[in-house]
Symmetry: C2
Subunit: 203 residues, 2 copies
Amino acid sequence: MKSITLAEIQAMDRLYRANLVNNLSGFKSGNLIGSINEEKVSNLAVFSSVVHIGSEPPLLAMVTRPTSVPRHSYDNIKKTGFYTINHIHSGYYKEAHQCSAKYDRSRSEFKETGLSEQYIDGFHAPFVREAHLKMAMEFVEEIPLTINDTILIIGRVLSIHLPEDSIMDDGSIDLNMLDSIAVSGLDTYHKVEKLEKLKYARP
Amino acid sequence: MKSITLAEIQAMDRLYRANLVNNLSGFKSGNLIGSINEEKVSNLAVFSSVVHIGSEPPLLAMVTRPTSVPRHSYDNIKKTGFYTINHIHSGYYKEAHQCSAKYDRSRSEFKETGLSEQYIDGFHAPFVREAHLKMAMEFVEEIPLTINDTILIIGRVLSIHLPEDSIMDDGSIDLNMLDSIAVSGLDTYHKVEKLEKLKYARP
C-alpha cells in the first residue's frame, strides 16, 4: 500500500497530477453534450462529470471549465438555453473521444468525427443518432464554484429517448443492454457488466 | 425508440420515477464515505455522486440530501471537518449496499455490516480496511442547490492510499486492477472491463 500526501500531489508534474486526480472519484459516466450556436454550427463535447441531482423534478448537473478550455458548449447552452445529453456506447467511443480535440468554433464535431446529427420533434439542439439513450435538456441554472473557477451547470430533463425494452418493470434502465460505457481518467473507456441488482437495504 | 416527456416523468409513481431518473446520467462511481461523530460512533454511507471538480488543488464533490434522509455523514463532516472516500470493489459491494439501510445514529455501519474500521496516520475519520483505494478528505465548502434542497459538498484530498503497482507511468490509476465497481440507479452494481486507453485527441 502506497500513501501519497497532498504536498506530494501538489509537487507533481501538471499532466501526471491531472491523470492521477481524474481517477480518484472512480468510474465516471461518459456522455456527449450536443449544442448549436447562433450561426447554426453544431457542437459535440465529451463530459465525464454528468451527475444526478434529483428526480423530482428530473435534474442533471455537469462541471465545466469556462476560462481554461474552449467553451463552445457552455456558450451555446447559455445563449440558446438548450442542449442534449447522449450516452456514449462501445460502438462509437473513439469518435466520441475525438470530439475532445480543440476544433475551431466554425467547425462541427459531427462533421469532423462522422457522427450523425439528429433533430427530434423540433428540439433546438442536435442529438447523436448513434446514441441508444439521449435526452433533451433545458438549462436551469449555473453555479460558480469559486474555489477553482469551474461552473456547475444544472439542467432539467425535457424528454428521454431510448429503446422501450431497456426499461425494467420498476422503472430502472438496463444500461448494460444499452451498452453505455464508463470512463476513467481523461482518456480510458470501459465496458460494464452487471454483477447484481440488490434489494432495498433495511437494518 | 420510445420517447418519454417531462410531463410523463412528472406523472410517474414516485419510486418508478426515482429508479428511472437515477439511471439517466449513465454509470456512476460507487464509494463509501467514512466519518465519525463527537461520541466516537463511526459511520459509513454509500454515495454514487462523487465527482471530480479539479486536480490543482485536488478536489472532489458529492451531492447530499440533508433534510429528506438521515444526515449522519453530513453532520459528521460539518462538525469534524474530515471524512474518507473509499472505492467499493466487487469483494464487498453487498456489505457496502447494506450501509444504505437506515441505522440509528448510535449504531456504526462498520459493526452492522462487518466491514473493518481502519485508522491511518492519526487521521480523524475511519477508512474501510477492505478498500483498495481510499482517501483522507478535508471538508472545504458546501454549496446549497436551492432548486431541490440538495447540497454539493466539496472536499480536498489530503492523502491517497492505494497499491503502488496500480499507478501507471503517466499517473493514471488502473481502476480495473483495483476492481472498483460502477453503480447504476439506486441498487445495481457492475464490474468494469477496459476497452481502450486512447491518445490525447487533436483536430
